[in-house]
Symmetry: C2
């Protein structure tokens, strides 16, 4: 059987993607979930905020920034009143703003825990960028704070709301490549000196936390299993000052309960254009640009006769849109999000075990 694009859309619409796609009927602003953007960096300004504009159930109602000029400019773009611009000092006052239902935290990794916990204590739901935080203890504290405050928590694992990745999961679950045996992956980029990601205290670690986490999370959502064991190496090749605090490269191999093996590399020394390749007894699924903001491209061989070639539209922002509305929908319907704090915690635990295998600590 060859699945064309329309059949795929139908299948996807009928099952997995229906979880991610909110109802498309337009709603009044008052019915939408109001987000307070915490941190005005590239991912907020270039990706999340423009995407929210295209959602049906989400809107931007407040900002937190240490830069008043930048904040005012962004506020104007999104119709946020001056009174809803906060600083890191008066952040806790979001508690009194009824227009804020949830926060979107896009700060350096080491700040995720504090700003999640403060949001929870202010009674706000929390959408937090990955990695969830920089220690297992912080992950537990974040989960506990959200539970105690009865607010929902979503870790921004975009790829679990992205159509091509969902398509890969669906093909695997449908048995289209038979029994999964092995997966390879890589993700990385050539980092510029001076980035906060190279500061161990702010980042918590090297490329594994920042970009290798995509491969790790993919291994878990592609297999639908939790790993049982991991072995790894970390190295630094370039002694040019960038890697005085964090490692440059990490490579690991994992074993899953069914016997699936998975190996991956991650690097701050090379532009890897993240990919994965899933090998089954009856076929193979490969996704190029698997983890990027756009340009996902799935190819597959399913049995002897069916091959797929499914590039995604070059500038499809849908996974940000889907993720925001998915969380809004969870809040509206009081449903537990699939990429909740526990999902983030599991990755933190495996990141910790990978570092341990390298003779390092998270």
């Amino acid at each position: 059987m060859h699945l064309n694009r329309r059949e795929f859309s139908w299948l996807a619409g009928a099952s997995l993607m229906s979880q991610a796609l909110p109802k498309l009927n337009a709603q009044k602003d008052s019915g939408r979930i109001g987000y307070c953007i915490v941190g005005l960096g590239r991912i907020s300004m270039d990706h999340f905020m423009p995407a929210v504009k295209q959602t049906s159930q989400s809107r931007i109602t407040a900002l937190v920034s240490g830069h008043p000029d930048k904040a005012r400019k962004q506020a104007a773009l999104y119709g946020v009143p001056e009174s809803s611009i906060y600083t890191y000092e008066n952040y806790d006052e979001i508690r009194n703003n009824k227009e804020i239902d949830a926060v979107y935290i896009a700060l350096p990794n080491s700040m995720h825990a504090e700003y999640t916990i403060r949001a929870a204590r202010a009674g706000k739901h929390v959408l937090c960028e990955k990695p969830m935080c920089t220690s297992i203890a912080d992950a537990h504290a974040m989960i506990d704070a959200c539970k105690q405050a009865n607010v929902k928590q979503l870790i921004a694992y975009r790829c679990q709301y992205e159509p091509t990745n969902l398509r890969a999961i669906e093909l695997i679950r449908q048995g289209k490549i038979g029994t999964v045996q092995a997966i390879e992956s890589a993700n990385g980029f050539n980092i510029r000196a001076g980035e906060w990601r190279l500061n161990k205290k702010m980042a918590g670690g090297g490329p594994l936390l920042d970009v290798g986490i995509y491969s790790l999370n993919a291994f878990r959502y592609l297999t639908g299993e939790e790993p049982v064991e991991v072995k790894a190496y970390s190295t630094t090749i370039d002694h040019d000052g960038r890697f005085d605090q964090v490692e440059e490269n990490t490579s690991w191999t994992m074993k899953f309960p069914s016997g699936i093996i998975a190996s991956s590399n991650t690097s701050y020394g090379s532009n890897m254009n993240g990919f994965y390749r899933v090998h089954g007894s009856k076929g193979v699924i490969a996704v190029e640009s698997a983890f990027g903001y756009q340009g996902q491209h799935l190819t597959a061989q399913l049995g002897d006769k069916t091959s797929l070639d499914e590039p995604n539209p070059a500038k499809d922002p849908s996974h940000f849109i889907r993720m925001a509305d998915y969380f809004s929908n969870c809040i509206q319907k009081n449903q537990e999000p699939k990429t909740n704090g526990e999902e983030g915690l599991r990755d933190m635990e495996w990141i910790s075990r990978i570092y341990e295998s390298c003779g390092m600590t998270l």
Copy 2:
């Protein structure tokens, strides 16, 4: 700089490939190296022997087989006289056949050592299929026997004579992708029940010895370094009787002296169409169908401006031709082959260490 196919050919001809390419002037049969084919399986009959017909310095002068009918049929195809057909019992008599300069050993792995050593004692040079053998002790014994008899030994690492793999090596050595950081690879196929490869005594182990060895060898020739450490897992998923003696899957990660990390999967449970991807500080080289008999396809991004897309002709048998004539040339000129016994031994040592990391023994 964009290198087109002609420039590549020139570069390749000027350096690496000149080692593999023999002089193209036709020679009389008497000037060619005469090979005795030991074992008439698929690789001999479908690949090596037809390729030798296209060489300029090699010819088939004798056969060893346990099947007289098959032997006579093949002998007729290649102009081999009946008197030069041997059995495994009278194999040592090749010593008295002046038309035999070298043997090509394409037997089950566990027989490589014995038939190499007997050939050496008969004063014949030895071209032996990979894996070299099934134990480190055997590898040493083979090397010693060849040294003692003053005959040359070549392990049939085809890919080190194959243009696309040589092209990848050359691009890396020329610094076209900057500093190599990480490599991913996989190789495997979905094995049929009943193959001798599933018999531990004959095969020595699972897919790692048979097909994973291509990734291992590639890591070494791509980096130009010897690994320093390895960690691995082996698993068996399919309990359908095929894997009662050898494992189904193996995954490993390796560290090299410069800091390069390399990870790979190998499987007898999935058709993997072997590939590798080399990530450098300035670019990436990917080779699909990297280890097959044909169809190698290199793509690369070299810096920001140069991208390469170099598929190989679909039915290019040149690496068998090149390998045979390369060895013939080494014999004629009394030069040490690059993929000699020591090269094979190194892979055997790393295979042993991979198994050790899996809690198994070679």
